[in-house]
């Protein structure tokens, strides 16, 4: 049977572990999708040149590229989980009979 102190300790560890997973997951996702240092994109522009006229024009590819706000949101969520972990007190007193 687990004691309340042990449960709190597990929750504390779980919150921190979740925070780490969120932090690493967001970072890896952002880097794998192109490490775009601007805002997120829902369509990616590609420049092309019309042969006869020499006009440079833009076509769009429908693809999601996460931007810095996604990275910031991941960092914020991870920080939030880490902060929450402190609410689970390691030294909780044993319940009285």
């Amino acid at each position: 049977m687990t004691t309340p102190a042990a449960t709190a300790f597990d929750l504390r560890r779980l919150a921190r572990l979740l925070g780490l997973v969120v932090l690493l997951g967001t970072g890896v996702f952002w880097a794998a999708k192109g490490a775009h240092t601007g805002w997120s994109q829902n369509r990616v522009p590609h420049r092309q040149v019309d042969e006869i006229t020499g006009i440079e024009y833009v076509t769009y590819e429908d693809r999601f590229v996460p931007g810095l706000e996604v990275l910031a949101a991941g960092l914020g969520l991870a920080a939030g989980l880490f902060a929450i972990s402190f609410f689970f007190n390691r030294n909780q007193p044993a319940p009285t009979q």
Partner: protein
């Protein structure tokens, strides 16, 4: 006598030849106005591809060029879908109430032609979000004789192309677009880059 009359008539016709009418609804869909605004984190860049209109251009008299270029407001897009929604919303361009952005070319000045390219200052009325202002912008017009059919892989069609290039800056506040607001986040100046082609199929 009759021969001289016909010759005179032909000469008079050639001297008063009507300018060619170029249609800017491009069948290949490359026509677009690109816009750029400096902003927090990165510049906001986008395109407006819904270009239509006609320009009357006489290769023998480029100074007489007139025309009207229309851009569908709903065709303005940026890479971020949320920003595109904001751009179309009543707070910014109000695309529902102002479906067209129009430039009406009334005159060309400072005209100089070199080969197929004419450089000039285009003056006219620019209408955006219900506000119309007289503006003058530097433009380059390139007349590509006989290139219309070639571009569509149908050389038998003949016809000419007219490429118009230009770049100019407007102040969004002048056109009622968030005047004086969010200037620390989005620059009040909008840089517009124009590169469009019009076709005049052989009659």
């Amino acid at each position: 006598m009759k021969r001289h009359l016909l010759l005179g008539l032909a000469l008079a016709t050639s001297l008063t030849a009507a300018p060619l009418s170029f249609d800017f609804k491009d069948p290949k869909g490359v026509n677009a106005i690109q816009f750029h605004l400096d902003s927090v984190l990165e510049p906001i860049s986008g395109t407006a591809s819904g270009v239509t209109g006609t320009v009357a251009f006489d290769p023998a008299n480029p100074a007489a060029t007139t025309g009207r270029i229309i851009v569908a407001t709903k065709s303005l897009v940026v890479s971020n879908a949320t920003m595109t929604e904001h751009l179309q919303s009543p707070m910014w361009l109000d695309a529902a109430a102002n479906p067209e952005i129009v430039f009406e070319l009334t005159s060309l000045t400072n005209v100089s032609t070199s080969g197929t390219t004419t450089s000039a200052t285009a003056s006219g009325r620019f209408s955006l979000k219900g506000v119309t202002k007289e503006i003058s912008v530097p433009v380059k017009l390139t007349h590509l004789a006989g290139a219309y059919g070639k571009r569509l892989n149908k050389p038998e069609l003949g016809g000419d192309l007219l490429v118009i290039r230009g770049e100019f800056t407007i102040n969004r506040g002048d056109y009622g677009i968030q005047p004086g607001k969010n200037e620390d986040k989005v620059n009040p100046e909008i840089r517009l880059t124009l590169a469009i082609v019009g076709g005049a199929p052989k009659a």
